[in-house]
């Protein structure tokens, strides 16, 4: 981890309230793992004051480039989305603990709600590089906001879309879709699947490992499904953050603790990825 400045290498792509930003930042490109984030200085003045934690969406190790995908949601991200090619941005990172790579050969899936796809796409790229293919459940309010689906298909994964308004894929939440799918018996139908030239494991239930990121309500539902079905999972957690270095104790996540019942752990250094069974949802 370090503090560096990265130059924007191409024009930001904006789709449906999201923005995709590519920066030249060799050290970050070489040292990042899926699930890690950068603490980004969005403006140059005292308002907005704090950095913004933004997931690493993809890296190109050869070119030394990194891509961030973020939702334009407030003052900081609005300023960031206006930055032009060539402008330099102060970055801290890569920060935090990322996802662990699957250990066995069982089915793998990811569940992404909205902008939750940002870190999971990086994970899917890494899985694909290791010839591991997953079922990718993507949820969004509308079909237009369903981002990254084509890129994920190109990586060899199988995409299962869900939209709140039913304009694309399953009409309902991504957690509901995942729940239905994960109940399909081992020899049942379903996507993911084994394709010629694609070694296992397929993204078919029973799942050995589930990775999720999205709004808290969705993560809570996914964790409940995992707990009932006794499936291992990891979730990337989001919380309002201060320093990003583990010092200020702002961004804590309530987690189980055998001795004390619960313990607040820091999303920035102990997370943002936590084992699904460790998070306590109040």
């Amino acid at each position: 981890m370090s503090m560096i400045t990265g130059a924007i290498v191409k024009r930001q792509e904006r789709v449906a309230g999201y923005s995709r930003l590519t920066l030249q930042a060799e050290a970050v490109a070489l040292n990042s793992r899926p699930g890690q984030f950068l603490h980004v200085r969005c403006g140059d003045t005292l308002d907005p004051l704090l950095r913004r934690p933004i997931s690493i969406h993809a890296v190109d190790r050869e070119k030394g480039e990194i891509t961030l995908l973020y939702r334009v949601a407030g003052k900081g991200t609005a300023l960031l989305s206006e930055k032009k090619e060539g402008e330099r941005i102060s970055l801290l990172g890569p920060l935090g603990r990322g996802f662990s790579m699957p250990a066995g050969t069982g089915g793998i899936c990811v569940v992404a709600g909205g902008i939750g796809i940002a870190p999971l796409y990086f994970l899917l790229r890494e899985l694909s590089r290791r010839k591991i293919y997953a079922a990718a459940f993507l949820g969004a309010p509308t079909g237009r906001q369903l981002i990254c689906a084509d890129e994920i298909k190109e990586l060899g994964h199988t995409v299962f879309p869900a939209t709140d308004d039913g304009s694309a894929g399953f009409h309902g939440t991504v957690a509901e879709l995942f729940d239905l799918y994960s109940r399909i018996p081992a020899d049942g139908c379903g996507g993911g699947g084994r394709h010629a030239g694609q070694p296992e494991p397929p993204g078919k239930p029973p799942f050995e490992m589930v990775y999720a990121c999205g709004p808290k309500g969705m993560l809570k539902e996914v964790c409940e499904i995992l707990s009932q079905a006794n499936i291992n999972g990891e979730i990337a957690f989001e919380e309002r953050m201060g320093c990003g270095l583990g010092a200020c104790l702002s961004c804590v996540c309530k987690t189980v603790d055998a001795e004390k019942g619960f313990r607040y752990r820091r999303t920035c250094v102990d997370g943002p990825v936590f084992p699904a069974g460790e998070v306590i949802w109040d």
């Binding site: 981890m1 370090s2 503090m3 200085r41 005292l46 308002d47 907005p48 004051l49 704090l50 950095r51 801290l92 919380e239 309002r240 953050m241 201060g242 320093c243 990003g244 270095l245 583990g246 010092a247 200020c248 104790l249 702002s250 961004c251 804590v252 996540c253 309530k254 004390k260 619960f262 313990r263 607040y264 250094v269 109040d282």
Partner: protein, 309 residues
């Protein structure tokens, strides 16, 4: 402009000898280790660590932080591992550095503060104690010690009688007369004062129509509070003959110099470390440059200089 002779930066804050006047504000710098890969801790005049209580504290529910214009509201709830684990796990890391460690202490009762002071009095590697009096006095219906001159004096006396180490009392700005509280701390034996702690504030989410912070109210810090802090240092410097560590929104060397001119013998960098982790060293270098450019041979000459205009 190049300096002919390097200015003296060393200061003595109530018996704590610092090689320069820059320290860190408690709660913004963890136990130092968190920042150790972003700056050379040895460059600092002192490190002031996160507030410690006798027993471990879990802290407040989230959200614990919210940004406001040029500021930050926080309500962490003193999450800390307790004094024993602090001494076992956090302090040894800092002992490897050549810098005074100031330990911020907090409690629910006068007895808590005295107990902490006694426990830390025996700890090698602790240069001084900073007493956070902005805590509710559980026995007196939750009124903050620091809002009452008599309660501040009582805590100060209890700490002083439990340790031989220098005692700094950290003053709250959420009072009618900060000078009255400062005088009470001075009469009770404080060796130095630090000011200001955060300003009580809150923010409401207009979409959910609920307070943003889990604990409803929190402490405001950052550049937004700087004029309030400079004013507080100015007022107390005129009335109370104790060295002051000035803090509240310092992000640049100019901000630090402003505090020194108002009467601060040393300064602490707080919230700015969140945005720019090596900022404390940048502030130090800027102070040195300011002294050089203005032909001032000793930083101590600058303390309170604005009162002599």
């Amino acid at each position: 402009m190049k300096c002919g002779q390097e200015p003296n930066l060393a200061v003595n804050v109530g018996g704590i000898r610092m090689k320069n006047p820059v320290t860190t504000a408690s709660g913004t710098f963890g136990f130092g280790r968190e920042y150790s890969s972003y700056l050379d801790l040895n460059r600092l005049g002192a490190v002031t660590v996160k507030g410690i209580t006798l027993e471990p504290r879990a802290g407040n529910p989230v959200p614990r932080i919210v940004e406001t214009p040029a500021g930050v509201l926080n309500s962490i709830g003193l999450q800390n591992p307790g004094v024993d684990r602090f001494l076992e796990e956090a302090l040894p890391f800092l002992a490897a550095y050549n810098l005074p460690v100031i330990v911020n202490i907090a409690g629910d009762s006068v007895k808590d503060y005295a107990g902490l002071a006694a426990r830390l009095d025996r700890a090698a590697g602790v240069a001084g104690l900073e007493v956070n009096v902005s805590c509710p006095n559980v026995k007196k219906g939750g009124m903050l010690f620091g809002c009452d001159p008599a309660a501040t004096a009582e805590v100060t006396r209890a700490v002083k009688s439990s340790t031989d180490k220098p005692v700094i009392v950290k003053l709250s700005p959420n009072v009618t007369s900060i000078t009255a509280v400062a005088e009470a701390a001075a009469r009770a034996g404080a060796d130095a004062l630090s000011m200001i702690n955060t300003l009580l504030g809150m923010a409401i989410d207009v979409r959910s129509r609920r307070p943003v912070l889990g604990n409803v109210m929190g402490g405001l810090s950052g550049p937004a509070v700087k004029p309030v802090a400079v004013r507080a240092v100015w007022q107390v410097y005129r009335e109370v003959p104790l060295p002051i560590i000035g803090m509240g929104g310092i992000t640049t060397a100019e901000d630090a110099v402003e505090f020194i001119l108002a009467g601060a013998a040393a300064v602490a960098v707080g919230t700015a470390s969140f945005i720019n982790p090596p900022v404390a060293v940048e502030v130090l270098e800027g102070i040195e440059k300011y002294l050089c450019e203005n032909g001032i041979g000793d930083v101590n000459e600058l303390v309170g200089a604005a009162h002599r205009y």
